[in-house]
């Protein structure tokens, strides 16, 4: 899988995840994903619109980095999940601890408003 990082004008860091987030995919991005999220105090919106598949190994990456980000005073949100990915997020209750939004713009607005 791939990831793309954009420093938005509204100062939210947008990370787009592309492809298949299974154990093989996470191997491709774990280090740059951690570098882009957990090493700073930032608002981070994870764009899931191009994510084809999400397994628990991907959730572990989200939880671990969201936790570290929070400890540094930042925050993570997930946005734009396709139906299959949303089903995995719903089944595991991710929305209880990492906010989910239908679009990246909605996620960024909420992050800036301190949601």
């Amino acid at each position: 899988m791939k990831m793309a990082v954009v420093e938005r004008d509204d100062e939210v860091v947008q990370i787009s995840l592309i492809g298949r987030m299974d154990a093989l995919g996470v191997e491709d991005i774990a280090i740059p994903f951690t570098a882009a999220t957990a090493t700073r105090n930032a608002l981070v919106a994870i764009d899931l619109a191009q994510l084809d598949f999400l397994a628990s190994v991907g959730l572990r990456l989200f939880f671990a980095n969201a936790r570290t980000l929070q400890q540094r005073g930042g925050k993570m949100a997930l946005a734009g999940a396709r139906p299959d990915v949303q089903a995995v997020l719903d089944a595991t209750g991710v929305g209880q601890i990492i906010s989910l939004y239908p679009t990246v713009d909605a996620a960024c607005a909420a992050l800036q408003n301190g949601a």
Binding site: D22, A23, F53, Q70, A87, V88
Partner: protein, 147 residues
């Protein structure tokens, strides 16, 4: 691949042999896509097969293979009675993943339990799951949800 004999393959089933390493997950995903077509699975059922096998095989690679060496992972798909049933065989040490305690629902980032999420997803995305030990093989059967 292991030199020991493979588990018996029932007539009419399709079989996929995998090495115990992460690159095999790409082969597995492609095989799941093939199954979705050959068994005319609904999109939700196709996703359930894909997800459950990804979780289970990843667990086998992570936990069985340091002990099992280069033994095979074997996946059988049986749609002969109109319902698709998947059987996953691995030659690792005896281990029943269904005995793991499900994680509690997450309430806080600082206390969320990460272990057990994969098996929990398998339970949620399948209807019937069973485990048995057959000779040197762990055997896990499941019927994916969405059928």
């Amino acid at each position: 691949m292991s030199n020991s004999p493979l588990p018996p393959q029932a007539e009419g089933t399709e079989r996929c042999l995998l090495r115990g390493e992460y690159p095999a997950l790409a082969q597995l995903a492609a095989w799941c896509e093939h199954l979705a077509g050959s068994h005319s699975l609904s999109p939700s059922c196709a996703h359930a097969v894909d997800l459950c096998l990804s979780e289970l095989v990843t667990n086998v690679i992570d936990y069985a293979y340091p002990a099992a060496g280069s033994a095979s992972i074997v996946v059988d798909a049986d749609g002969s009675d109109g319902t698709l049933t998947i059987t996953l065989w691995d030659a690792g040490p005896a281990f029943n993943p269904l005995q793991t305690t499900p994680p509690p629902a997450p309430t806080d980032l600082s206390t969320v339990r990460i272990g057990g999420l994969g098996v929990e997803l398998v339970r949620r995305f399948s209807r019937v799951v069973s485990y048995s030990r057959e000779g040197n093989w762990n055997r896990l059967c499941f019927t994916p949800a969405g059928q």
